[in-house]
């Protein structure tokens, strides 16, 4: 076998001009380079100047909004009986937390949403796997799911009340239903879009059908499943808020209903803040999950 000619490295002095350290470069050199006037310099990212770090820049927008809201209440643009000021909301949050009312309500609501997510998640993912992995499963399941998903699930509330009464069951069922569909759709798409070349390669490695599912198809579908998880968790909170309007005798929803009766906008706003923070917390958990499970993926993090 012939070996190709080795490419000669440039002589040392020639190289120094190309990649010598910038500090050692004589000050006159840039001017000495002619014919570069039309070129654009590539700036190393380490020297790109960041005046304000990102963690400082990010919260500025929301803080400005809060300030605007506070000013609006102070100046009377928004009456205090219509909209409580941020300061009042914070104080109310303090009271509600102190007397344990809020903690209890959160626990009840979390239980509802947790049960719903669990039931809906298991149903959505297992149906999707059955439909994605087996031809018979697809024939039996997919058409029905595709048909049912066009029904807006919130519209099922009256039916659920007739079926399940006004206890916990219709609330959990509504959350489960809201969660199941996005999870099903994303998982199914994930399974079906696994790279056929990888499946083929894995088959030549002698993987069994089970090994193929475990090592190739499930990990290949995982990014899609996680997209489904994030989306469906968002839906879960939405479903919870709707569900808790059904005669809630406990939970955050009940706090809000009571507050509505007494025109306590501060309590309503405090509850909304709690909903928002719970949603944020869950989103953060999913992000962590993604980072752990998808660490193999070189992610684009923006610039």
């Amino acid at each position: 076998m012939t070996s190709p000619a080795v490419v000669q490295a440039p002589p040392a002095e020639q190289r120094a001009v190309v990649d010598g350290p910038p500090v050692a470069r004589p000050a006159a050199l840039p001017e000495a380079r002619s014919g570069v006037a039309h070129l654009v310099p590539v700036v190393p990212s380490s020297t790109r100047r960041r005046t304000v770090p990102r963690w400082v820049r990010r919260p500025i927008g929301p803080l400005l909004l809060l300030l605007l809201w506070q000013v609006a209440v102070w100046t009377g643009t928004a009456g205090t009986d219509l909209l409580a000021s941020p300061a009042t909301v914070v104080r109310t949050l303090g009271h509600l937390t102190a007397d344990g009312e809020l903690g209890g309500a959160i626990a009840v609501s979390l239980e509802r949403v947790g049960k719903g997510i669990l039931i809906g998640g298991i149903a959505g993912i297992s149906l999707a796997l059955l439909a994605g992995l087996f031809r018979t499963g697809e024939d039996l399941i997919d058409a029905s799911v595709q048909m049912l998903r066009t029904v807006p699930f919130v519209g099922l509330i009256p039916l659920f009340i007739i079926w399940f009464g006004i206890g916990e069951t219709p609330k959990v069922a509504l959350v489960a239903l809201g969660v199941a569909f996005p999870l099903y759709l994303n998982t199914y798409a994930g399974v079906r879009n696994v790279d056929a070349g990888l499946v083929e390669a894995a088959r030549t490695l002698g993987l069994s059908r089970f090994g193929l599912i475990r090592h190739v198809i499930l990990p290949g579908a995982l990014p899609n499943v996680l997209v489904g998880v994030r989306y469906s968790l968002g839906i879960a909170w939405l479903a919870l808020v709707f569900a808790e309007q059904i005669n809630a005798n406990r939970g955050i929803g009940q706090l809000m209903m009571d507050a509505q009766e007494f025109q306590r906008t501060d309590v309503i706003l405090a509850c909304l803040v709690v909903y928002a923070f719970l949603g944020l917390a869950v989103d953060a958990i999913v992000r962590l999950l993604e980072r752990g499970l998808l660490s193999w993926r070189p992610a684009f993090s923006g610039s």
Binding site: M1, T2, P4, G197, A201, A202, T204, H215, V216, L222
Partner: protein, 274 residues
């Protein structure tokens, strides 16, 4: 002996589909074909047919590859080389005829096809029986010069590194038959030369039978014991490359063989050698 080979498929065009008890018992099939009494075969194909709808790509093809032989398969684009390789890899079973290959075989494709969610070393030992064996992976990676990248994610490998990983993954199975479908096709010229050299050294050490598909006649003649030209659905030409190794592209016999093969591939005026 062909009876040591596994009959991988129940041909769908067989008049009597179903499991052939004779073949199951390791006996020769009833087709009347008698395997030659000479050394063991790594591939034995008789009357292979493959059609896509009305397009018959492989038409009653016969092929024997002795154990340990390095065979290169040439042919015009679209003549069915990949199709044949996929059949030998048991990836395509919509066939007629009788195909026998060893149970231990491995494939490397034009693209490396590594699982991006498994670290390099886990990719290498994927599918081997038992627990993932780190030491075994390390040994295979060392053979292709990649022991340092064992813990890397496949997406961080260069094209050549990924292709070498794919080779390590094939070799760790200690195949009796190694199927390579243009494994160097996507590599730059320099990396390609190194990869050819690597394949040749690995072949010399492990001695699997190799079936390498390529478009490069020079590559074929540098590596092969035997060069095949595929045309009209059959092996139209087979030539033994009786040149000592390492081979010299300037050797007159080499040049004559090259001109002959290029002619058979429909390239009339051989390019001049640099």
């Amino acid at each position: 002996m062909a009876s040591s080979l596994q009959r991988i498929v129940t041909p769908v065009l067989d008049p009597e589909p179903g499991i052939d008890p004779a073949a199951e018992a390791g006996l020769e099939p009833a087709s009347g074909y008698r395997p030659p009494a000479d050394p063991r075969l790594a591939v034995s194909v008789r009357g292979l047919t493959r059609a896509f709808a009305s397009n018959t790509v492989i038409d009653r093809l016969d092929l024997d590859v002795p154990a340990g032989q390095f065979v290169v398969l040439l042919g015009a684009s679209g003549c069915g080389k990949s199709t044949l390789l996929r059949i030998l890899a048991d990836l395509d079973t919509e066939i007629g005829g009788d195909v026998r290959v060893p149970a231990r075989r491995a494939v490397a494709f034009q693209s490396p096809r590594l699982l991006p969610w498994k670290r390099v070393w886990r990719n290498v030992v994927l599918g081997l029986p038992g627990r993932p064996d780190r030491a075994r992976a390390a040994a295979a990676l060392a053979e292709v010069g990649l022991e340092a990248r064992a813990e890397a994610w496949p997406k961080t490998l260069s094209g050549g590194e990924a292709q070498r990983t794919s080779l390590a993954r094939a070799l760790v199975r200690e195949p009796e038959l190694l199927l390579l479908d243009e494994p160097f096709g996507a590599l730059d010229a320099l990396t390609r030369l190194k990869a050819q050299d690597l394949v040749w050294r690995l072949w010399r050490r492990h001695r699997p039978a190799v079936l390498l598909v390529t478009h490069d006649v020079e590559e074929a003649l540098l590596l092969a014991d035997r060069a095949l030209v595929m045309k009209d659905g059959v092996i139209a030409h087979s030539v033994d490359v009786d040149l000592s190794r390492p081979r010299d592209v300037g050797d007159p016999t080499f040049l004559a063989l090259r001109a002959d093969l290029l002619g058979r591939l429909g390239v009339d005026a051989p390019r001049s050698v640099a």
